[in-house]
């Protein structure tokens, strides 16, 4: 695994505009960054990331059965009691899920270490599945990458295939919803909807704020149509708290991601995974936080923090890092501190995508800090076989 500086495509901004990638620059700061890429060997990808992703995904799904049957676990995960039966039912019915992203610290040498599961509202999907793919094809054509370079990225094919597989299990009408004013979230659902249409599924879109409720407790779109299935790029735990949440269990509304994903998108899954698989090479020791002083060599994360918010890190050398954010209250977990590797002063976090139940690609977010936050740039990657071993004579 190497970080390689490279020439940008001169026309990438025009290409971004042509495919609706409007958020490549956010608040005047670059988000898409192709001045460099990460080069992996095929072995690093397959043994270091792909196989562990599939294994951890299976381990996580195995835990769901145990959690839905355990009041103790449901309380540890801070799942509100009115939703317990509904979540359990969604699991018993195996309501279809679509996708998730695992975040890893990995430098190509030791085992990748799982930071967390983003199994409810993962973003950075379009840039990983489409724009990164287009970058590789363009740079191959321009001779900027070694001939035969590849990419761990069948995310697009896997999404269309997954939609095709679950199409018959999706209630209609089927709508995609995200926060109205978030360009990034709107871009992500636009891409997912694009993939669903390519799988032959008729579907609409609306803002999460526009969802209505009828007097008999069913959810409606702007035409007063009762929504059959809602893909919501909106955290389940927020829906639980908000005023319409109470109607969810009896509304008949199908959700994607389904209710049982609330158990996996929760950082409480990390101590439960550790308890069940103590010593697993891809897991970091983790426990539920008791509120006490954070010892050296550990990180405190709220159960529901997103985008690296409200993380406290106490490094081995005594330094302490804290990030701000909206998740001040509520329970936390502790995880052993395993700082991100540094490449030329940059800290890459590897997002490993699971679509359906298949590990199918990665996207890398790079930050100048040890805690990857929403300021992190997306940097593409390539599989460059034996690049180091081949001498150019």
């Amino acid at each position: 695994m190497r970080r390689v500086s490279t020439a940008e495509r001169p026309d990438w901004r025009a290409k971004a505009a042509a495919c609706g990638f409007g958020f490549h620059t956010i608040d005047d700061a670059p988000y898409w960054d192709e001045s460099a890429y990460y080069a992996f060997s095929l072995r690093e990808i397959e043994n270091g990331i792909e196989a562990p992703t599939e294994e951890l995904h299976a381990m996580a799904l195995d835990l769901v059965e145990r959690i839905v049957g355990s009041e103790q676990h449901l309380r540890q995960l801070a799942i509100p009691e009115p939703y317990w039966d509904w979540i359990a039912q969604s699991w018993r019915e195996r309501q279809p899920h679509l996708y998730g992203r695992m975040d890893f610290a990995y430098d190509g040498t030791g085992p990748a270490k799982l930071y967390e599961l983003n199994y409810d509202t993962p973003t950075s999907l379009f840039e990983a599945a489409f724009f990164q793919w287009q970058w590789l094809e363009d740079q191959l054509a321009r001779g900027q990458l070694p001939a035969g370079s590849d990419q761990f990225n069948s995310i697009y094919e896997s999404l269309v295939e997954a939609f095709g597989t679950i199409a018959r299990g999706i209630a209609r009408p089927f709508h995609f919803a995200a926060v109205r004013d978030s360009a990034e979230d709107q871009g992500t659902v636009a891409y997912l909807r694009d993939c669903a249409l390519q799988a032959g599924i008729d579907c609409g879109a609306l803002a999460i704020e526009d969802i209505g409720i009828s007097e008999d407790g069913r959810f409606t779109d702007l035409d007063d149509q009762v929504i059959g299935c809602l893909f919501k790029l909106y955290p389940l735990e927020d829906m639980f708290r908000e005023s319409f949440g109470q109607y969810l269990p009896r509304s008949g509304l199908q959700l994607i991601e389904p209710p049982w994903k609330a158990l996996l998108s929760n950082k409480g899954i990390l101590p439960l995974l550790w308890d069940a698989h103590r010593g697993h090479p891809n897991l970091l020791p983790a426990e539920f936080d008791n509120g006490g002083e954070l010892p050296r060599g550990s990180v405190r994360k709220p159960l529901h923090s997103r985008e690296g918010a409200n993380i406290a890190m106490h490094l081995d050398d005594g330094r302490e890092l804290r990030t701000n954010g909206p998740y001040r209250d509520g329970p936390c977990i502790r995880q052993a501190c395993h700082p991100l590797p540094a490449f030329d002063g940059h800290y890459p976090l590897i997002g490993s995508w699971v679509v359906g139940d298949r590990a199918c690609g990665i996207g890398i977010r790079e930050d100048s800090s040890l805690v990857t936050q929403d300021s992190a740039r997306f940097v593409p990657h390539a599989i460059v076989e034996e690049a180091r071993g081949v001498l150019i004579a």
């Binding site: 095929l42 697009y156 995200a178 636009a190 790029l233 927020d238 599989i383």
Partner: protein
């Protein structure tokens, strides 16, 4: 190869799309499940038919609704306060679920106008939110106190009058919520 062979975009691309609006298949009949006369009118623009369909469904509901010996037994299936005491006119009283909607089906003529006449049936909602209707062929025949067989309805009703919006989205920051 570890990457997709292709990566196509339908909607997000600025290239012109050659898709036309969905061709609605010419259906010879129209059926809807409505929770009120107003919802029915909003959909069909036919208030006379909606009103008659509602009235007929309500009339049939007493005869075709499932029957329970106690309110508790009825509420176990249909939810709290969703049951009423009824009588079959021969001083036998029982409990049955309240009608929560009605079906209306109409034959359509070729130009898309509803033909005269309609069928309607009551709809009930079980405690899990699923919709049910009397089994086809049921016609209010008293069956040993058990009421008519009910069949689940897969389709959700087309429309429902929205009573409020903006009950989701209050936690979202302007930057979005993705992880």
């Amino acid at each position: 190869m570890k990457r997709s062979r292709t990566a196509a975009l339908l909607l997000m691309s600025t290239a012109p799309l050659l898709l036309t609006a969905c061709d609605r298949s010419e259906s010879a009949s129209r059926e809807g499940l409505y929770t009120s006369v107003e919802a029915c009118v909003a959909q069909t623009n036919d208030s006379d038919t909606c009103r008659q369909a509602f009235a007929k469904a309500q009339q049939d509901a007493v005869a075709t609704a499932p029957r329970f010996a106690s309110r508790e037994a009825c509420e176990a299936s249909y939810g709290k306060e969703q049951c009423a005491e009824r009588s079959d006119g021969a001083s036998h009283s029982f409990f049955g679920p309240l009608m929560t909607g009605f079906f209306l089906s109409q034959m359509m003529s070729r130009n898309g106008v509803a033909a005269n006449g309609f069928n309607s049936a009551p709809a009930f909602r079980d405690s899990n939110g699923g919709w049910q209707r009397p089994a086809p062929g049921a016609g209010g025949v008293y069956r040993g106190g058990a009421g008519t067989a009910m069949v689940p309805v897969n389709a959700t009703p087309n429309r429902a009058v929205t009573s409020s919006r903006s009950g989701f989205g209050t936690s979202g920051s302007s930057r979005g919520i993705g992880g």
